[in-house]
Amino acid sequence: MSRTGTFPEEVEARLALDAKEIIARYPHSRSALLPLLHLVQAEEGYVSSAGIAFCAEQLDLTKAEVTAVATFYTMYKRRPAGQYHVGVCTNTLCAVMGGDEIFESLKEHLGVGNDEVTEDGKVSLEHVECNAACDFAPVVMVNWEFFDNQTPESAKQLVDDLRLGKDVKPSRGPESVCTWKQAARLLAGFADDRATEGPQAAGPSLVGLELARKRGWAAPDPDNLPTAPAADEGEGGTK
């Protein structure tokens, strides 16, 4: 195996304790790879060669195997991200609702391209895939917190505030945004006890639920399902 960078001893010792805790959660140690990658990302802001070597060492995997996973998932960065990582959804619905425009204007406003960091290291920009919030399209994420119903103007204001160190408040979830490294540590499974802050769901997401309540609809009892009408089975049978 190649002998590229390793963590300083002090860092390695500290992370090894965290890793022990993470690995203990799983019946097979290799299942801990995803949170471990978040753990090393929390340390350096990205998954470095040292981070890969650390995960491989902890889990008795080869570096090539860890590299495969680290490069497969886009949430792991192989280069340093900004203190605030801004993701603009450009999947179909967000795109037509203005996501493409937001992405273009942020690129110009920040002077960076996709997956690049501003010179001050504060903000990195990425076009992200669907975040399952189409009802709030177009959506922008900051360190994986939601900023719903954005416009180019609101998005530019958002990144300006982030760069100036002003408080910003996500549309849902916690009252403020943590740093990229803190977010990575959270994803590694070390809770910050803010899970109950702010609304978890709101607005259009709840329209159907409210309508059902109003009309007294309920889901069928799974143990007592009604039989489907025989005539209307539709296209069936796949090979």
């Binding site: 195996m1 190649s2 890969i52 080869t62 090539a64 195997e65 590299t67 495969a68």
Partner: protein, 965 residues
């Protein structure tokens, strides 16, 4: 005796019955549909599957209809009882055709495909042709995934890759190198080396296993020496054996007869290597085509007497003026032909051979047997070794004939003879698969026996515990369960400590000790004085680790020990090996599968050359030269009187020259100038010889001292047999004619013999082999006709039907009383301990890419471009303290000499130790080493001497970029 194919345990094998394409089959449970179909003669196409690897079922080409909802991949789906399988219904065929079309859409056009344009066996294109699918070129293509040509001999074309993972499995599961994985996702997914590095900068060791695994043009060989790589059908396939290490891998050279060169090499299936090769075997054969080959006999011109070294380097002129060292040294570190050749003139064979016979004969007439000596080589075939020793012994009535085994395993062999009565391995390297625990010690196997090491790594993945004992943290340490980094030269203390604890824990095998060994009590008394705490103090290994090893070893049902020159190349080499013999004996770990003693042999034919009698104390088959019965046997066989005195060893011969004893020498393929310890002494000795004839393929440093140089044939130019470390006797086959007037070695030896009045008339190596076998009981029953394509292990009671004996000593040892003789050893420190003036311990050894004095590997394009420079490996903290920087020059000095070479900062060294490979003449490690020898094995202490190291302030390194290791 135990035979190779251990019958599987007598457990009842369950079977399942099913039909495939209407045929009723019954197969063992667990058989895949693909395998069952294949055995029934039904071929199911597959791209990701290859029987060499565990199936992964990713390409979906092998899908079949089992009547279920979906088509399962037959390569991975086990047969089930009552299953009805259809392998080629129209639906299945349509699925395959669509898949092929989709895969093909991303491939480069076939006229640009790296495989189709070379070996022309792109498996995807073959499938496409079967389905009549043309290359699709009007489709929108993605951005492309790029190429990687950073490795000197392997090309990567990511666009040709179908992500079948065969290379990943070849690299991880077969060779155990763990370099290749995948990176990215979706369309941009690629195979990746390490951290997605360029192949040439990754930890890849260029074994080429991935190339042999790849079904498409993604991984292909690059041409070497401008010999294009062409389809096998257009090339001549020569089945032979690798010329490098003692593992003796079977391989096939594909030869381009039009251009007179090798196009490429491939591993061949043989029970030992199972088709695997390493970088030397697969890519290091082009040395034979070097323009520097000697092609005519050469005689020293009168004006170049008195004799002495000829090139500036060998004269060591630079030593007079420090600081200028290395000036004018050739890149690649070869003997400067232009400095040496003017001192010789070309001659006819007759003139040269007459001169050799007259001069050697003359010295013999004047000085008698004491005046003559011969060095053979472990690179010779069995037949050449046999003829060479027969010539020296019969024409000159002397047993002064030795070879480089003296420098590698002489002490191991001495201990083994004394302990178990045979110098050969008691089991094979592949037998590790049957071991619970294996100790690998003093062996950098991943570099020096790479293919054997792949079996070690594989065994560990299957549950064998590996204990690695070595002062260097070589890559074997990465694959060890316990790595025991002992201080150099403390092996005896360590093993005594382990045995102390094994005995204390009551883990000795009392039955075995009682019925199969002698002298246990004395051994027990000796090791009693080595409690783990004391052993820890001497070895630097902590006592708990020693206890852990003792428990693991003592409790193992089957334990085996593999060792290398870290054990043998010490003044205590014989003692070190005695300890290993005792380790196995007290726990009953000899004579059963997965147990035994295996000194990993260095040269391709060091086993065979020793077997054939290229040893001063033994006639062929280790029949003692001092033993009257043996002497009479050979006197009768050879029809002449023989000298009853044992001969001198390599190191003793050098000394004898200086003392005026030996005056004339015949060197066949040996280069003692670079390989022997204390070069300054060797230089003096060689200059002093009255007559020296050197028979070699290149001008070597030793040849500078020659009166006559005879151009010999390389391994590729002759037939003969070679015996590997496992005792496997294999046939090497001629690939080319020797260049120019060069001749095959056995013929040259015979010509000299005839001129010395011997009645020799061999017509082929086969005739020589047939003469040898009746004189060599171990080789009984073997003949050219029954060695077959895979060779045979000896002893072999029935070579027509069996591979031979894997495990020796199952009921008795080879000693006169049939018992193992335990010999206790007390720990003694190295001869030259570090001092204030020379505070570091120097260890010497080899690199994966190079071989001995480099005369072959440094003329190989692949090997010399991967590892071009001499380096001293230094621990980072030592380097810091001394102000040494990676890639910069340092001067290493011992009491005997000094060299200047690049520094390599290496986390694999322990503090206080320096490692220098001995392949590089421009920084010859043996200028530093000490010529102290083991009293029994007469092997020099290459692994231990005291040196100092300092930066070379006045010189700037020319190193560019990183370097391979």
């Amino acid at each position: 005796m135990t035979q190779t194919n251990h019958a599987p345990a007598d457990t009842e094998q369950r079977t399942v019955s099913l039909t495939i394409d209407g045929r009723e089959l019954t197969v063992p449970e667990g058989t895949t549909i693909w395998q069952a179909a294949k055995e029934a003669g039904i071929e199911i196409p597959a791209l990701c599957h290859d029987e060499r690897y565990d199936p992964v079922g990713v390409c979906r080409m092998c899908v079949v209809d089992t009547g279920g909802r979906t088509f399962p991949a037959s390569c991975i789906r086990p047969c089930e009882s009552g299953m009805e399988v259809a392998t080629s219904t129209p639906e299945v065929e349509r699925s395959r055709a669509v898949l092929t079309e989709l895969l093909l859409a991303d491939q480069p056009p076939r006229e640009e495909d790296p495989k189709q344009t070379t070996t022309a066996d792109n498996e995807l294109i073959e499938v496409a042709d079967n389905y009549d699918i043309a290359t699709i070129d009007d489709l929108f293509k993605g951005p492309g995934r790029g190429t990687d040509t950073s490795n000197p001999v392997i090309a990567v074309d990511h666009d040709s890759c179908i992500l079948c993972d065969r290379c990943v499995r070849a690299c991880d599961d077969v060779q155990g190198n763990d370099v290749i994985g995948r990176s990215g996702k979706g369309y941009s997914t690629r195979i990746a080396f390490d951290l997605n590095d360029p192949m040439g900068e990754s930890s890849c060791v260029t074994c080429g296993e991935c190339v042999s695994a790849c079904p498409t043009g993604a991984l292909t060989n690059k041409p070497i020496n401008n010999i294009p790589i062409r389809p096998r059908s257009e090339l001549d396939a020569v089945d032979t054996v690798c010329p490098y290490c003692g593992v003796g891998c079977a391989l096939t050279y594909y030869v381009d007869r039009e251009r007179g060169g090798i196009s490429f090499a491939e591993g061949r299936n043989q029970p030992g290597n199972q088709g695997r090769l390493c970088v030397k075997g697969r890519y290091g054969w082009d040395y034979a085509a070097s323009p520097q080959r000697l092609t005519a006999p050469l005689i020293r011109v009168d004006s170049s007497y008195p004799k002495g070294p000829l090139s500036a380097d060998v004269k060591d002129e630079a030593q007079q003026s420090n600081g200028k060292r290395g000036r004018g040294r050739k890149p690649g570190g070869l003997v400067p032909y232009e400095e040496v050749l003017p001192h010789f003139r070309e001659a006819t064979w007759d003139e040269a051979l007459d001169l050799v016979a007259r001069r050697l004969g003359g010295i013999f007439a004047e000085s008698g047997p004491e005046g003559i000596a011969g060095f053979g080589s472990a690179k010779c075939s069995n037949e050449e070794a046999y003829l060479f020793q027969k010539l020296i012994r019969t024409a000159f009535r002397t047993n002064n004939v030795d070879h480089c085994t003296r420098l590698c395993h002489a002490s191991s062999v001495a201990a083994l003879f004394e302990g178990v009565g045979s110098g050969a391995v008691s089991t094979t390297y592949g037998d590790i698969t049957n071991a619970d625990v294996a100790i690998i010690t003093g062996s950098n196997a991943t570099a020096n026996h790479p293919v054997a090491s792949s079996f070690f790594k594989q065994a560990r993945r299957n549950g064998t515990k590996i204990i690695y004992v070595d002062p260097r943290s070589g890559t074997v340490a990465d694959h060890a369960d316990i790595f025991c980094q002992l201080k150099p030269g403390t092996d005896v203390a360590l093993y005594n400590g382990i045995m102390h604890e094994v005995i204390r824990l009551g883990l000795v095998d009392r039955d075995f000790l009682a019925s199969r060994t002698t002298n246990y009590e004395e051994l027990a008394r000796t090791v009693e004085a080595y409690p783990p705490e004391l052993a820890a103090q001497i070895t630097g290994v902590d006592a708990d680790t020693i206890r852990e090893i003792a428990r693991l070893w003592g409790e193992a049902n089957a334990g085996v020990i593999y060792w290398g020159m870290g054990i043998s190349q010490h003044t205590t080499g014989t003692d070190n090996a005695r300890c290993l013999i005792a380790m196995c004996s007290i726990t009953g770990n000899v004579g059963r599968p997965g147990t035994g003693l295996h000194p990993l042999r260095g040269q391709n034919n060091v086993q065979g050359a020793s077997d054939a009698g290229l040893i001063p104390m033994f006639y062929p088959n280790y029949q003692s030269a001092g033993d009257e019965k043996a002497r009479v046997l050979f006197e009768e066989a050879w029809g002449t009187e023989l000298n009853p005195e044992k001969g001198l060893t390599v190191t003793e011969i050098i000394k004898s020259i200086l003392d005026g004893g030996v005056r004339g020498m015949y060197m066949l393929g040996e280069n003692p100038f670079l390989s022997d310890p204390n070069i300054n002494k060797v230089r003096k000795a060689l200059s002093q010889l009255d007559f020296l004839v050197v028979q070699d393929i290149f001008l070597t440093e030793t040849a500078e001292f020659a009166d006559v140089i005879l151009p010999a044939s390389s391994y590729l130019e002759k037939d003969g047999t070679y015996t590997n470390t496992d005792r496997r006797v294999q046939r090497g086959r001629k690939v080319f004619d020797p260049p120019g007037d060069a001749r095959v070695d056995w013929e040259i030896v015979q010509e000299i013999a005839q001129r010395l009045g011997l009645d020799w008339n061999y017509r082929s190596p086969q005739e020589v082999f047939d003469e040898m076998v009746p004189l060599m009981p171990d080789y009984a029953n073997l003949s050219y006709d029954n060695l077959g394509s895979e060779g045979k292990l000896y002893p072999n009671p029935d070579p027509e039907h069996t591979d031979g004996t894997v495990v020796l000593f199952d009921d008795r040892f080879n000693t006169a009383d049939g018992l193992a003789h335990l010999v206790p050893a007390e720990w003694l420190p190295g001869k030259e301990l570090p001092s204030e003036e020379y505070p570091y311990v120097l260890n010497t050894g080899r690199l994966l890419e190079h071989w001995h004095t480099g005369s072959m590997t440094r003329r190989s394009f692949a090997l010399d471009s991967i590892a071009p420079r001499a380096e001293a490996y230094v621990h980072p903290e030592d380097a810091d303290e001394l102000g040494l920087k990676d890639g910069e020059l340092a001067r290493v000095t011992s009491r005997r000499g000094e060299i200047v070479l690049n520094v390599k900062i290496s986390h694999r060294e322990a503090r206080g130790n320096i490692f220098i490979p001995f392949h590089f003449r421009e920084a010859a490690a043996n200028l530093l080493t000490i010529d102290e020898i083991d009293p029994m094995g007469k092997i020099p202490e290459f692994k231990f001497c005291a040196v100092r190291i300092a930066p070379v302030a006045d010189r700037v390194s020319t190193t560019v970029g990183g370097s391979a290791s």
